[in-house]
């Protein structure tokens, strides 16, 4: 079996057949999956969010479903419902699209809070309750949600507490010139999706997942992480700081990052690489700073090495 660094490399190479120039985003998405975490993609429509989700699902041989969130979406549309079947004369359960391994929740913030929370609760508990009956979701269960930028009209912003449930938030951004050119030429894109062959089985994925816990984190790194976390809790910097769950996510993601780099110990570089994705959606600045700027400011202000 290959080590995780090699696997990551291969994975990136394969994804490049569909979306190119997004290696770091792909790596972060991959990390989120490795850490059993849900992913929030925040970007403009049409930059390849859906493609990325589909590609990952295919490469990891996972069952894939997609829900387009709209303002009239009801919880039952996500979860499924007991539907009266006239021929049989009884109620049958019709599972919703959520019963899958990889769920792409497109434009999550277009739906009403009620519909949002139905999904978010399922994400947290990995089971859904319909008419008093609990139904377990398949394992693994990942949600890749996409979100339009908050400023766009007709959106219901996700509440802060819900955002915390997403392990990472990344944005893809516009493709670079070469990639976009290839896209126009038809060398890239969703048409190639069908050519992709699954790369990892569920067992193999599980094997890599369990390695993450064994990655060492020295005192020096833990101290650095704590300094970062404390900085985000400083009321002069942030209105809303990183929660303990967020801190834990930061550490787990850093570990996974180290592994994908082929190391079995964490370095501050790993922490810095995942910090924007982990903290960007969890903290809020005192002034209405863009979260990217705020995260950058925190990273720049906190000394990597204890003074």
């Amino acid at each position: 079996m290959h080590d995780l660094a090699t696997v990551t490399h291969h994975l990136q190479k394969r994804v490049r057949q569909v979306i190119s120039g997004k290696d770091e985003a792909v790596r972060l998405a991959w990390i989120a999956l490795l850490c059993d975490g849900h992913l929030l993609l925040e970007d403009l429509p049409g930059v390849g969010k859906t493609s990325l989700a589909q590609t990952l699902g295919r490469l990891l041989s996972m069952e894939y479903q997609r829900i387009q969130f709209t303002s009239d979406l009801l919880p039952a549309d996500i979860l499924g419902a007991q539907i009266y079947s006239r021929d049989k004369g009884r109620f049958d359960f019709h599972p919703g699209p959520i019963f899958t391994q990889l769920l792409l929740a497109d434009e999550l913030n277009r739906a009403t809070p009620k519909a949002q929370s139905a999904l978010l609760e399922a994400m947290e508990e990995r089971q859904v309750t319909i008419d008093g009956e609990a139904r377990t979701l398949p394992a693994p269960f990942y949600v890749i949600a996409t979100q339009n930028p908050q400023s766009q009209s007709g959106t219901y912003p996700l509440p802060e507490s819900q955002l915390d449930r997403f392990f990472l938030r990344i944005s893809l951004g516009y493709p670079d010139v070469n990639s976009e050119k290839s896209l126009l030429k038809g060398e890239l894109g969703r048409t190639h999706l069908l050519d992709l062959k699954p790369m990892l089985s569920a067992e193999q994925l599980a094997f890599y997942k369990q390695q993450i816990a064994d990655v060492k984190a020295s005192e020096a790194v833990l101290d650095y992480v704590m300094r970062l976390v404390h900085k985000t809790r400083d009321p002069q910097v942030c209105r809303l700081g990183l929660s303990p769950r967020g801190a834990l996510a930061l550490m787990t993601a850093s570990r996974a990052m180290a592994l994908t780099e082929g190391r079995n110990y964490v370095m501050p570089d790993d922490v810095q690489a995942v910090f924007p994705a982990v903290a960007g959606h969890r903290i809020q600045g005192q002034r209405s700073l863009d979260s990217e700027v705020l995260v950058r400011q925190v990273l720049d202000d906190v000394d990597v090495i204890a003074a």
Partner: protein, 318 residues
């Protein structure tokens, strides 16, 4: 004078930098200042006189006594330092009062060790001296301070001081907590003609109807996704699939509206609204509050009243 003020400002800035504001402060060595008190300096003088006795009368035991006194001051530093060290002050809550009344700030003193810390003195010009005796792991302190105007009244930076147990040294820290009391405007009865329209005439007996869950209202057609427990089984027997629909009722309410007082200046409008709230309370009428940046739906009860008053207090301050 200018020089002195500059110096003072520098010191303040230095303290502010060294002791930033948050809603909880744990006193540690970077926050605690400690020096011999004047009383301690005088004891030093006494020790010196005793040493003079020792030298002049060649009295060996007086050397011991003299140094014992000096060492006592030294040891007292640790005793007093321990009183403050590891102490956490937490902002608990602050009251909402009418402008002109005294606002209360509640702090929690917290300690990770169960230690008697003697009387701790919280000193500020506004309340003089408040003493908190800390015996154990937690205690509450409340500080009160006059409010002179409507709005936000942050807890000022105060001095926390301990001289216990011997008064030979004084340990202190300047504590600033992120805790604000709010004062809502003093109610003033504005003449009726200031009001643009009278609410009284408009009052209707109509019921506001919201779809809700309190009362059964009607049956409607089943839609996919309706919960099973809402299905109306008697109609099901008639082979109709109906669902029970519920509604919430609300009484007709009075809106206390900022826009009702076009002829008044901002603060006066707030004072008028404050007076109106009192009127509604006196008559036990439900009321809602409408401010330019905020709307509180009609309601009743202490929580609602507080919410409205708080909205008046916070108006324009947030």
């Amino acid at each position: 004078m200018g020089l002195r003020r500059t110096f003072h400002r520098r010191v303040e800035a230095w303290i502010a930098r060294r002791l930033p504001v948050s809603d909880s402060v744990t006193l540690n060595q970077s926050r605690i200042f400690i020096l011999p008190s004047r009383q301690g300096m005088v004891l030093l003088l006494v020790a010196f006189v005793v040493l003079l006795l020792a030298i002049n009368f060649e009295s060996s035991l007086n050397y011991a006594l003299g140094f014992w006194l000096v060492a006592m001051i030294w040891a007292a530093v640790h005793f007093t330092y321990r009183n403050l060290s590891g102490l956490t002050l937490k902002a608990d809550r602050a009251s909402l009062v009418q402008a002109g009344e005294a606002a209360e700030y509640h702090l929690k003193l917290d300690s990770d060790v169960d230690r008697y810390r003697g009387p701790l003195e919280l000193i500020h010009d506004d309340w003089g001296l408040v003493t908190a005796v800390m015996d154990g792991e937690e205690t509450d302190v409340s500080l009160s301070r006059e409010t002179d105007r409507r709005g936000r009244h942050p807890l000022p930076r105060f001095r926390l001081e301990s001289r216990y147990p011997f008064g030979l040294v004084v340990a202190w820290s300047h504590v600033e907590l992120d805790l604000s009391a709010w004062a809502y405007p003093e109610p003033i009865d504005q003449d009726a003609h200031h009001q643009a329209g009278s609410d009284a005439g408009d009052a209707t007996d109509d019921h506001f109807i919201h779809s809700g869950s309190e009362d059964f209202h009607a049956l409607r057609e089943y839609q996919a996704g309706d919960a099973m427990h809402r299905i109306h089984w008697p109609s099901f027997a008639r082979d109709q699939l109906m669902v029970k629909a519920f509604v919430d009722y609300q009484a007709a309410d009075e809106w206390l509206d900022w826009a009702n007082y076009p002829s008044l200046m901002g603060e006066q409008r707030l004072a008028a609204l404050s007076w109106q709230i009192n009127q509604c309370l006196a008559d036990d009428r439900p009321f809602g509050l409408r401010l330019p940046d905020r709307e509180i739906p009609p309601g009743k009860g202490p929580a609602h009243t507080e919410q409205c008053r708080r909205a008046l207090a916070e108006f324009g301050e947030r």
